[in-house]
């Protein structure tokens, strides 16, 4: 693919993203028209008297922003893990981060809640979110510890370890469900399905402050990820400090996904398929691939959120939608691309 076609593909991607953001702002249980919003805005009335504008500002905008930030963050984490572990299946989700986060959230729901000993608020995090964050970060650090041992584990083995940890967390979740009271189960299960249906700007601000610096750090590693494409030794011979790159990527990704999972629950497949889909358009150089994936990831989750609102009357949990779209799409990609190129 030539430079020009690639550039136009990137421009098209950005345009698509903007269109989806606009659609996400206007489409919902109640569709808003641009004319009505402008009219209400011009009237100068307070928000309580302008229903459309109120929905836009208090619900649609924060929700869209959360979808954007979460999509960007998860995709970038997926892209980084794929490069670091040289494996097409490496994502936060497959490494068990989401499952551990869910386990933390379940534990917090059981032992927190009304009168529980584990109830607290800290820096805008509830005990549920704090525990989800702590457990997902714990999972990544465990994998990093295995990766950085003296007898190094092969990337594919690490991935297997991640999947196993995910299974461990899943059985932990089952055990917690067994312990839980029936009325707690409803909240727990809803959390497990993921959702960006926030109201107000507090989660937007937390996510923005958490994800932005992580995204910048990861984007700055792009040329190092390129070097890893030929293996760790080749990269080290070229002057990349591979150990430092590993540490940085693991820490940053664990922090970022921890924040995301704690706020919106586990949302799978975005981090897996978006980088692969983008790679077929932009090629494999991370200096182009990563920013393009960032944009595409945000757009993708916006689209999923629109579907979440419109697919049925009422909400469909977004985690279900990403999996329902993502899994078949990934299978399609598998049949198209030669994944044998990857170190598996």
């Amino acid at each position: 693919m030539t430079r020009a076609t690639r550039a136009s593909a990137v421009v098209g991607l950005i345009a698509l993203c903007l269109a989806l953001v606009a659609a996400s702002l206007l489409i919902g249980t109640e569709n808003l028209s641009l004319g009505r919003i402008i009219a209400e805005w011009r009237s100068g009335e307070p928000l309580s008297k302008t229903p459309a504008l109120s929905i836009l500002i208090n619900q649609r905008l924060p929700r869209t922003l959360v979808a954007l930030i979460v999509g960007c963050g998860l995709t970038l984490a997926g892209c980084s893990f794929q490069a670091l572990l040289r494996n097409p299946l490496a994502t936060p989700y497959t490494l068990g981060i989401d499952s551990f986060g869910a386990f933390g959230a379940y534990a917090a729901t059981i032992y927190g809640g009304a009168g529980g000993w584990l109830t607290f608020q800290f820096l805008g995090f509830s005990h549920v979110q704090a525990l989800a964050f702590a457990f997902s970060a714990f999972d990544v650090l465990l994998i990093y510890a295995m990766a950085s041992r003296k007898t190094r584990m092969a990337p594919s083995v690490l991935l297997l370890a991640g999947v196993t940890l995910g299974l461990l967390a899943s059985s932990g979740i089952l055990f917690l469900r067994y312990l839980a009271r029936p009325e707690q189960l409803i909240n727990m299960d809803r959390w497990l399905m993921g959702g960006v249906d926030v109201i107000g700007y507090e989660p937007v601000i937390t996510l923005f402050l958490g994800v932005t610096p992580c995204a910048i750090i990861l984007l700055a590693q792009a040329s190092k990820f390129d070097q890893l494409g030929f293996g760790e030794e080749m990269a080290a011979g070229r002057g990349v400090n591979v150990n430092r790159l590993q540490l940085t990527t693991f820490l940053v990704c664990s922090f970022m996904t921890g924040i995301i999972v704690s706020k919106v629950g586990p949302i799978g497949f975005v981090g897996l398929i978006v980088p692969h889909a983008v790679r077929t358009v932009t090629g494999s150089r991370h200096r182009i691939l990563m920013p393009a994936s960032l944009v595409a990831g945000g757009a993708c989750l916006c689209l999923c959120d629109i579907l979440a609102r419109k697919l049925m009357t009422g909400e469909t949990p977004i985690g279900i939608i990403t999996s329902l779209i993502g899994a078949p799409f990934f299978l399609y990609l598998l049949t198209r691309r030669r994944f044998t190129d990857w170190e598996t």
Partner: protein
């Protein structure tokens, strides 16, 4: 620039206290092809990685022009020393030109964007390795010999003074083996210093200026010197712990080495 890379009395252990080798001294000089030869498991590749600074010796020092290489930054070292591992395959599909541009990494700024000058260097390295006509091909679609030359071009794009190569001809047919070694010899003539691990004693005999012979029995250096001095029946038989015969190549006059068949065990 004339450089000397030297390993001084180095010992290395993957899992201490089991040493792969101890008290080994090796030198790679500008203008010479130095061959690292020896049987499987003798630590040739490990020694090459110690020289490259990728593995840290348990004892002893690795010096570049008399200065310890352990204190250099990774990038600084990469501008002096190029390293090519055995059989590398990319994870991502890249064009030949992109592969060669990757070699510019130690010269790039913090954001890693290639400047026009970097692309000029990459073109030159393609020309030097006679791969310019492959420029826009997919790297994965190349033949083994073409890949090896392109990888060599990408290491040359680092603009190092010294090159360390791990079995650059192991997967190639007889014609491409000679082609690569002839290229290495030419690079040495242009002033590069090369350290090459190889299993092929006959190629080493023909193309190397210096040889290091390692043994696997008590892993250590058996001999160091010119090919005619190192490739003798007694030294080789000691290093390989097997009867080895040496004669003269009828065409090139270089030593011609062959192993004897093991004596059949009698019941």
């Amino acid at each position: 620039m004339t450089r000397t890379l030297q390993a001084e009395d180095v010992a290395f252990a993957y899992t201490p206290p089991v040493d792969v080798f101890t008290r080994v001294t090796a030198v790679v000089r500008s203008g010479e092809v130095t061959g690292l030869v020896g049987p499987n498991g003798s630590g040739k590749s490990t020694l090459l990685r110690v020289l490259a600074g990728l593995l840290r010796p348990r004892e002893g020092k690795v010096l570049i022009d008399g200065r310890s290489s352990a204190h250099m930054s990774h990038r600084h070292r990469a501008r002096i020393l190029g390293f090519l591992p055995q059989m590398v395959n990319p994870v991502f599909s890249l064009t030949v030109f992109e592969v060669v541009c990757l070699g510019r990494y130690p010269h790039l700024g913090a954001l890693g964007s290639t400047q026009p000058h970097d692309r000029v260097v990459a073109e030159r390295c393609l020309r030097d390795t006679e791969t310019l006509d492959l420029r826009d091909r997919d790297f994965m679609a190349l033949s083994g010999g073409e890949r090896q030359r392109v990888l060599l071009a990408s290491v040359l794009a680092q603009e190092p003074d010294l090159l360390l190569l791990d079995e650059p001809t192991s997967a190639l047919d007889i014609h491409h083996q000679i082609e690569i070694f002839a290229l290495l010899k030419r690079l040495a003539g242009e002033g590069y210093g090369l350290g090459v691990v190889t299993h092929d004693l006959n190629l080493a005999a023909r193309f190397c200026d210096q040889l290091l012979l390692l043994s696997h029995l008590s892993p250590r250096l058996v001999a160091m010197g010119k090919p005619e001095e190192v490739l003798t029946e007694s030294l080789l038989s000691e290093a390989y712990d097997a009867p080895i015969r040496v004669c003269r190549h009828p065409l090139t006059g270089a030593p011609l080495i062959t192993a004897e068949e093991p004596a059949e065990a009698k019941p």
